[in-house]
């Protein structure tokens, strides 16, 4: 069951230095929201507050009026963060400890297949390239089939070709499960290819991160970066990002 997310009055500071907020936004169930903004503007902080990794100073994150349940949230970090002592397959199955082993093995095999590493199950993380490790981390986040998926620049370590493949994979998964997705990127094309909604964030240098613009690109799917309609959106997005 996809969930709708309400964020109200969310603020966060580190050592008395406000870095985020106030953030007020509602995200529709089953939507893909992309947060875009310059480095240091508070994107990761926002996502960590949504995922329960940071306790906000003020405000709330709720799903349908109730607090978010841990089991319904998946989180993919900006770095792979694989357990170096576990094989790739065991890393992918890390969140599936409560599943029965047969179902888990099938889910892991399917996940490895989809990220294009069907034969890497027995490898150790130290044997993977950066891009491979990031894909394994993506598979680990997707495997438990969360209702809400939070992704922090999940594709930034990938080459353009693999990146397009993983975007395709994410969209496929989204169609299959209707997962509510919040994804951070600093890549305009990625935002425009994926997003139902683009939240442009500004902040940094003493200004707490806030949502400066909220766009809903009305583009048919599947989208291609080369599409002229998309180019128009890219131009206005570039304008929004360069203002400060």
């Amino acid at each position: 069951m996809a969930i709708a997310l309400q964020v109200a009055g969310l603020r966060k500071s580190y050592a008395d230095m406000p870095v985020l907020g106030p953030i007020d936004v509602g995200l529709a169930a089953g939507s893909i929201s992309v947060v875009i903004g310059r480095s240091g503007c508070g994107k990761t902080t926002l996502l960590r507050c949504l995922g329960g990794l940071e306790t906000p100073d003020a405000g709330s994150v709720t799903a349908g009026g109730a607090a978010l349940r841990r089991e319904s949230v998946g989180y993919v970090f900006q770095e792979p963060r694989l357990m170096p002592w576990l094989s790739v397959a065991r890393n992918v199955g890390f969140g599936l400890a409560a599943w029965d082993p047969e179902r888990r093995d099938r889910a892991v095999a399917a996940a490895l297949d989809r990220i294009g590493l069907p034969d890497a199950g027995q490898a150790l993380p130290k044997q993977l390239s950066g891009g491979m490790a990031q894909r394994v981390a993506l598979a680990r986040g997707l495997a438990p089939e969360p209702d809400l998926l939070l992704l922090d620049e999940p594709f930034s370590a990938l080459d353009p070709f693999t990146r397009a493949q993983m975007q395709e994979h994410l969209l496929h998964l989204h169609r299959a499960y209707g997962t509510t997705i919040v994804l951070i990127t600093h890549d305009m094309d990625e935002a425009l290819v994926l997003a139902d909604r683009i939240l442009v964030m500004r902040g940094g240098h003493g200004v707490p991160g806030h949502i400066a613009a909220d766009l809903a690109p009305a583009l048919a799917r599947p989208r291609r970066p080369a599409d002229p309609l998309l180019s128009n959106w890219r131009a206005s997005l570039a304008g929004l990002l360069s203002e400060s």
Binding site: E71, Y75, R81, M83, W85, L86, P144
Partner: protein, 259 residues
């Protein structure tokens, strides 16, 4: 020319260069009479002593006595270090309660306990094993605790986002992450175990390699002392290699340049 030099210096045999040189010097020194046999008996005599000890059964007896003391002391010390290290690593409450006392005890040199152990436990096996266990305990405890406390916060967050409980995070993240440090602790514990088994036996024993050392001194037979030193070194090295091999398999996942 260059290639031969590289071959010579890159092989594992390169480390034998200094021991070989010393052995040759020892042989020549003894043969030429520069070094008196009462100070340093010739290598042949040490070998002959070893053979005689083996023949009379003394060698096996001494080895069994020493190794069994070490094994029991090591197991007890390592067990206590593991349990307390894991407990203090897992629970901040336990750490605040226990760690200050353990750290205070650590600042007492282990050998200073000997008189007390002898008073409490008698001069025989118990006091020796207790001393060895104390020596082994500290590095095992400290390394395990340090390993658990030093686990990467970023990995712990992976546990958080997967909804792991404290106990699950300890079992699935902190303990495996602490394994390399734990293996290091066991290895230094074993090294200290050898040190303390020899000390305990020197301080009063009627069997074991340390007794052979003491006996060699009392009876003025340096060849017996050298034979016992040789055996201590050999056994210590062998046990460390074995432990390192087992430990190395457990932490083969580490991404290090060289193990």
């Amino acid at each position: 020319m260059r290639r031969t030099a590289v071959l010579l210096t890159s092989g594992s045999l390169f480390g034998l260069a200094i021991p070989s040189f010393l052995l040759v010097a020892w042989l020549l020194g003894s043969a030429s009479g520069v070094v008196g046999a009462a100070i340093l008996p010739p290598p042949g005599q040490v070998v002959a002593t070893l053979l005689a000890m083996a023949d009379s059964g003394e060698l096996v007896q001494a080895l069994v006595a020493t190794v069994s003391r070490l094994a029991i002391g090591f197991l007890l010390g390592a067990l206590a270090g593991t349990v307390l290290g894991a407990l203090c690593g897992a629970s901040a409450l336990a750490r605040r309660l226990l760690d200050p006392s353990i750290q205070a005890l650590r600042s007492v040199p282990s050998l200073a306990w000997v008189p007390l152990f002898i008073l409490w436990l008698g001069i025989f096996e118990s006091s020796k094993i207790c001393l060895i266990a104390v020596g082994v305990f500290f590095p095992v405890y400290l390394n395990l605790l340090g390993g658990i406390a030093g686990v990467d916060r970023k990995l712990l967050e992976v546990g958080t986002v997967h909804g792991l409980s404290r106990a699950q995070a300890l079992l699935r993240i902190q303990l495996p992450a602490a394994l390399p440090s734990y293996v290091t602790g066991l290895r230094s514990g074993l090294g200290l175990g050898w040190m303390f088994v020899s000390a305990a036996e020197l301080l009063g024993a009627s069997s074991g390699l340390g007794f052979v050392l003491d006996d060699g001194e009392q009876t003025g037979r340096p060849e017996r002392i050298l034979a016992a030193i040789l055996l201590f070194g050999l056994c210590g090295k062998l046990s460390d290699v074995a432990l390192a091999a087992v430990g190395g398999r457990l932490v083969a996942w580490q991404d290090t340049v060289r193990r």
